[in-house]
């Protein structure tokens, strides 16, 4: 079974803090994705990566950056957290974009 794990299930941070969300997959997938999920807005793509050290902007990259130093690990970074970044963050991995395997999510609250 494909396993995608995320470093935290729940996270509370203060405005202005730097936040790291980590995602690890164990299936040697090339492609990894970060989404945020908000009620009524569905899944919105933040960043994705097709290879180590490679990254591409998704639909809502502003305020975020990513890092992929190893194939199995994809990190999402909030350089200076703001309250409008309070959300559920979902990581996914896949060999083919259309069949994605999601992690359990990190619910981030920024106060």
């Amino acid at each position: 079974d494909v396993k995608v794990t995320q470093s935290s299930r729940y996270l509370v941070k203060r405005t202005g803090e730097k936040v790291f969300l980590e995602c690890v997959q164990d299936m040697d997938h090339e492609n990894m994705f970060w989404y945020r999920q908000d009620p009524g807005l569905g899944l919105r793509l933040i960043y994705f990566s097709y290879d180590v050290k490679m990254k591409e902007k998704g639909d809502i990259p502003e305020g975020y950056s990513v890092s992929r130093e190893k194939k199995e690990r994809f990190s999402l970074i909030l350089e200076s957290a703001s309250t409008n970044q309070t959300s559920m963050y979902l990581c996914a991995s896949t060999d083919r974009t259309y069949e994605q395997y999601f992690g359990p999510g990190t619910r981030l609250t920024v106060t």
Binding site: G40, L90, Y98, Q100, F102, P104
Partner: protein, 114 residues
């Protein structure tokens, strides 16, 4: 157009009923249409998918109906159970080797009453 429009946003059905979730797309280049199911506290998981060369696909109690000319597809759940209560996302994808794209609908929160 890259949007996938999903309706309704929420749905309540009695146990044993047949909830129907509808999706519409505009880009005729899409060639793969998956549905994802998400239970509370979990990430979405692939449930069932269809390609545009067939009009219907069944897996257990879940059926996708596909209307290529209308650019619409829908998910039906037969004999629905409270355990089917979840959020469902439709999606449309382009399969282009390393440039695969996937667009998700905004999701439908389904609640099956016992």
């Amino acid at each position: 157009q890259q949007q996938v429009k999903q309706s309704p946003q929420s749905l309540i059905v009695q146990k044993g009923g047949i909830p129907i979730i509808n999706c519409a797309y505009e880009n005729t280049a899409f060639d793969y249409f998956p549905w994802y199911q998400q239970f509370p506290g979990k990430g979405p998981a692939l449930l069932i998918a269809i390609r545009p060369d067939v009009s219907e696909k069944k897996e257990g109690r879940f059926t996708i109906s596909f209307n290529k000319s209308a650019k619409q597809f829908s998910l039906h759940i037969m004999d629905s159970q409270p355990g089917d209560s979840a959020t469902y996302f439709c999606a449309a994808a382009l399969i282009m080797n390393r440039d695969d794209k996937i667009i998700f609908g905004k999701g439908t929160r389904l609640h099956i009453l016992p």
